[in-house]
Symmetry: C2
Subunit: 236 residues, 2 copies
């Protein structure tokens, strides 16, 4: 039942080992657990040794983010390519949902990716693939550019949701309490929530309000809208 720790392997440190140990640490204990000291301990080494392989914490986080996006690129690399205006939307949809399936395995990734300020090699490659699909679909560079902005992080399979308390957490209890106290002032929200059901399956959801269904709902509105705009363009 016990995992083979990095410490037990005793191989020399390297950038790759540092980054992938950080990913594992984040998977197990969250992003906050990724401290220089904590990561070093997991690697059976002193915190200061890490600085021999990464210039600082920011560079470490850049590397971790890059590893996640490379995992996405690997996951989408064998997916079918678009052949024309008929199938680009389905191909795009499949690619984005494949990216999302990687993100779901690393629930801390959205928060990390949002804090990255520079576009890395892997992110550029991913977006080039997205652009390829738009172009195969006969969509102009101008519209594709707008589309990349409109999709934003959704192109990569996630939306950073506001206010998503973990089910059963004290935050969720706090929201429920606040909501109950204000029910009289919020009649429409009360009525809406009595009509709809939240699916809180932690296996498929990134959070309270970011489940697969809602992600696909918004994605389809955007893809449908883009398809419509593409069809209305003067030339392919």
């Amino acid at each position: 039942m016990e995992m083979v720790t990095e410490k037990a392997t005793r191989m020399p440190l390297s950038r790759d080992r540092v980054f992938s140990a950080a990913v594992d640490l984040a998977d197990e204990s969250g992003l906050d657990a990724v401290t220089m000291r904590g990561l070093a301990e997991r690697l059976g080494v002193e915190a200061m040794s890490l600085y021999h392989h990464v210039t600082n914490k920011e560079a470490l986080l850049d590397g971790v983010a890059e590893l996640v996006v490379e995992e996405i690129n690997a996951a989408v690399s064998h997916l079918p390519v678009a052949t024309g205006p008929e199938d680009w939307k389905l191909v795009m949809r499949a690619r984005i949902l494949a990216a999302r399936s990687v993100i779901v395995r690393h629930k801390w990734a959205p928060a990390l990716l949002e804090t990255r300020t520079s576009m890395s090699r892997a992110v550029l490659i991913y977006h080039h693939g997205i652009l390829e699909i738009f172009r195969a679909g006969g969509i102009s560079y101008d519209l594709a550019h707008h589309a990349l902005h409109a999709l934003g992080s959704r192109a990569m399979g996630f939306t950073q949701e506001m206010f998503d308390p973990a089910p059963g957490s004290e935050e969720e209890a706090a929201v429920t309490a606040e909501f109950a106290a204000m029910a009289a002032e919020l009649p429409l929200l009360v009525e809406m929530l009595s009509e709809v059901v939240h699916d809180d399956d932690p296996e498929t959801n990134l959070g309270w309000c970011d489940d697969q269904t809602e992600f696909e709902f918004a994605l389809d509105i955007l893809l449908d809208g883009l398809e419509r705009l593409g069809a209305a363009e003067p030339s392919g």
Copy 2:
């Protein structure tokens, strides 16, 4: 030219003064400058005095977020209300763009709001107002619920953009360099960027990739799509 500092006023501390001083500090020096010690100094007080008014740093940040959303609620409070299926989309659009104008005054707010885990009083009130517009437009609770998810933070006037280096920053230089080095592998991105122009006006943009035009482009696709779905619903 020198501002009247909080220190000079010498009034006793209060929750409200603490929160609004934190907003001012974030406006001037960014969110990272809002430390217990830094905020205390600005208030002419010791760091530990703050704990008499807020339970901890998280509660401080909650209060700061709440103040921003209250500013949004004030900004939209006198806007016209929707009267039916004919005008709900315009009313919604105006409200969301008014919210955005508040966010633009506090460029650190998106990053802060994304980290809040519980839905506050002001956020509930804001979303109730949004729901009011959907309902006036004859949209069902079920569709409105999907719509709130689909809009996400965009309902409040922002999208947390990934990879938005500040114009002229070293991050932007890094992206440019990376991009140049990979140009051969990214022919479509090269061609796209040669055709489109980025408007980097720092007055209207929240970042490199989140300018007013792109925000409205995506917003209109979503509102148009929701309108279409609403019109197709069996009953209002």
